[in-house]
């Protein structure tokens, strides 16, 4: 990454998030305001048949891969050892 000071950026992020967290302290949630993230009634969906894959899909995926060996993407090079 060109010319970006990671330590400086991380410090800036923490400073501004601390400021925001301070402001949010004044928000008080009453008992009636229970968090409710799911509002759908059906919890199971039929699997159906699904969609068939396009013939050249694998070819297109492999074209984007930085490194591949015939049909396989080489995801690790062993550099962690």
């Amino acid at each position: 990454m060109a010319n970006v000071d990671k330590i400086k950026v991380e410090k800036q992020a923490k400073e501004i998030l601390d400021k925001f967290a301070q402001a949010l302290k004044k928000v008080e949630m009453g008992k009636e305001d229970i968090l409710n993230y799911v509002d759908r009634k059906e919890f199971e969906r039929p699997e159906n048949k699904g969609e068939s894959c396009e013939k050249d899909f694998k070819k297109r995926i492999l074209k984007n891969a930085p490194s591949h060996d015939e049909d396989f993407i080489i995801a690790e090079t062993g550099s962690w050892k």
Partner: protein, 447 residues
Amino acid sequence: MLSDKLKRIKDKKLSAEENIKYFLDKIKKENPKINAILHINENAIEQAKEIDKKIKLGKAGKLAGLGVIVKSNINVKDLICNCASKTLENYKATYSATVINRLLSQDAIILGMANMDEFACGGSGENSAFGVTKNPKCLDRIPGGSSSGSAASVAAGFCDFALGSDTGGSIRNPASHCGLVGFKPSYGAVSRYGLVDMSMSLDQIGPLTNSVKDCEMVFNTIKGKDEKDGVTRNFKENKDSKKIIIGIPKIGAEKEIWDLILNRVDEVCKKQGWKKEDIKLEHIDLGIQTYYPIVYVEVFSGTRKFDGRKYGLPIEDSCGEEVLRRILGGKEISKAEHAGKYYRSALKAKEIIKKEFENAFKKVDVIIMPTVPRTPHKFKEQISLEDMYNYDTLTVLANLAEIPAISVPCSEVKEGNDNIPVGLQIFAALGNDDFLLDVAKEFEKAN
């Protein structure tokens, strides 16, 4: 208006090929000055010829022959989808997003991919790895963002309409600065399948157009339930637009901008016989403080897939400063030791803001305020991080409350030699998207 052009195409006074060729020539000639478009669809002319054949047979779709520019975070099969980042510089989409398939099913033609703030992180159009986008209305000022290239493309006349994504105002903010209509639909109204997410609990895809009617036409094509995006649904509306009460909240923006908005509201109320009421929303001044912790954490989470293994480069080694800030900030505040302090508090505040809007919509039909609290700054102007985030003060509210919101051109502010467009923002209750568009038409007429 697009309906007039579609009639000309249908009546064979204009061919799809001529329409597309006109745009491609204009882009070739003028884009180097604006930098709105990153990649052109090399097959657009051939695709237009095929559409012309369908038109002759009377088998063409509702958007036959129209040219579209797409934000570079929406997948269009075989086109570069790089999110304006070096991380995905040469990434070719392997499939098309649902919104793209819906446009193509109506015979629209993708002209190319737009510039944007990198991974949609930014509100000015300055954060692209491939150079800033200029505002066609005032070349030395920012166009707004993050859908900077989409907005600039419509404003410069490079396309019939464009698609953008809006997480905290990324469609409405550049629409306001570029003098366009920009619409963020209700959360769940439009599928995000195929969108490279920035913050999945807030992201929406929507249109940028020259008129509300054009916007409605595009929205009607892309909306609706999609099995591939679990939050989508078909909303059933129950509003009509006869006797409308407009709510005006108290929230900070430049006085000159607020005055223009209030004058326009008074004008429309007088003409339509509508009423205006001041409303109090206790926590709306906490929009930014609520929005950013959520976004930081979701950017961190959503970018873990960019590890350079299957495609692209590792993101932390290749992205720009704003993306990195959100990744590192999100990584820090999502640690177990901070549990409840940042993300959880922000989620609670989000619920409260959402409830406040729900309650407000029991008393008023729409809520109006400026789209952006200030005029766009000039390039190279020094601006603090907090001031940059404050551009989003008035737009993030709709994303937090999950409601539909639109920016329509209201007026202009004169600064030096620049006539800077000012947008008026309208909110409606969740699912009342069509009603909102009807109200917006009346404000557009008054402009």
